[in-house]
């Protein structure tokens, strides 16, 4: 009985959805509202209005800056939730079960990863810094940085990577993206224009362009490095196991 009701409801919703799809304008039609108003504006005026030759970056950082700021805050909130539940790793005490098992990663794997991690981080930095003119940007580069540190941790163990990236180095960097966005936003308010305006009034054209460029660069770098460090911290919090938690801390 219940199943029949569920099936009937689903069929009803499906029929309504199919009917609504029939009412919609054809997909990819050049007369659709999104292709008439928004897309030509972005494509024609994106570079001068938003200051980035890659239209995607212009849209993400400028036209829809609030959206991106919310996204960055969401990632930061995810980190906060994970750390609130699982806690940070303890220096010198946290292990993973791979470290405890006693089987070390072989020399081949270690050498390969020692060769690969700098290459991956180099690629990520290229993606972050070149996001204005080529595909890519802060978030993608940050994910790649996080992946490279995950790779390092899998081969060399948690103690080694927490020694390389200690908490006092990670905690300031985690909030760097949100802080960079807010700083850029409030710079606009200080100059007397709206929140998240990159083009400052009352300056010469050259100075305003330069300031806009620097601000977008800072935000991109902030998103990139903060994203990477946030991924790393979430992974460290999830992977750690404190075998000797009940023992007193040794100095």
């Amino acid at each position: 009985m219940r199943k029949a009701i569920v099936v009937l409801a689903l069929v009803g919703i499906g029929v309504m959805l199919i009917y609504a799809v029939g009412e919609m304008p054809p997909m990819g039609d050049s007369g659709n509202p999104d292709k008439v108003h928004i897309a030509p504006r972005y494509l024609e005026h994106g570079e001068e209005e938003a200051g980035a030759s890659n239209v995607i970056t212009a849209v993400i950082l400028n036209y829809r800056g609030y959206d991106t700021m919310g996204e960055v805050a969401v990632i930061f909130c995810a980190l906060c939730a994970v750390v609130a539940i699982l806690n940070r790793e303890k220096p010198g005490l946290s292990r993973t079960s791979m470290d405890v098992s006693g089987v070390k990663a072989s020399v081949v794997v270690r050498t390969t990863i020692r060769f690969l991690v700098p290459v991956i981080i180099f690629f990520a930095v290229y993606i972050i810094l070149h996001g204005e003119s080529t595909p890519g940007g802060g978030f993608q580069g940050g994910a790649i940085i996080g992946a490279s540190i995950i790779l390092f941790t899998l081969a060399f163990g948690l103690p080694e990577s927490t020694r390389k990236l200690p908490l006092r180095f990670r905690i300031p960097l985690e909030s760097f993206a949100v802080i960079a966005f807010l700083a850029a936003g409030f710079t606009g308010i200080v100059f007397g224009v709206h929140f998240l305006t990159y083009l400052m009034p009352g300056l010469s054209e050259y100075a305003a362009e330069t300031i806009r460029h620097i601000m977008m660069m800072v935000i991109e770098i902030g998103i990139g490095f903060a994203g990477g460090i946030i991924f790393t911290s979430i992974m460290f919090a999830m992977i750690r196991e404190d075998q000797c938690e009940l023992q007193p801390d040794s100095p």
């Binding site: 595909p135 994910a143 992946a147």
Partner: protein
């Protein structure tokens, strides 16, 4: 010629998506989900969205899979 590759990729996408739901072994499901992300990344490049393809490949196939595998390792592997 262009649409044959797209059709193949879409069919592969459907197959991986359905098998992610059907597989009871969670570790295998995580691995298949990573394959789903890779197919999706190729489809994004076919749709001329390289930014999204980069994100999908790095986050979907890389980071999320590792987080899933860590979670499965710390909990249980079999569903039910």
């Amino acid at each position: 010629m262009d649409w044959t590759l797209n059709l193949l990729l879409l069919m592969l996408l459907l197959a991986t998506a359905i098998s992610v739901i059907r597989i009871k072994d969670l570790l295998a499901a995580a691995v298949v989900f990573s394959a789903y992300s890779l197919v999706m990344a190729i489809l994004w490049t076919q749709l001329r969205a390289p930014d999204l393809a980069l994100t999908e490949a790095a986050v979907g196939a890389g980071v999320t899979t590792v987080l899933f595998i860590i979670t499965i390792y710390r909990t249980v592997r079999k569903e039910d």
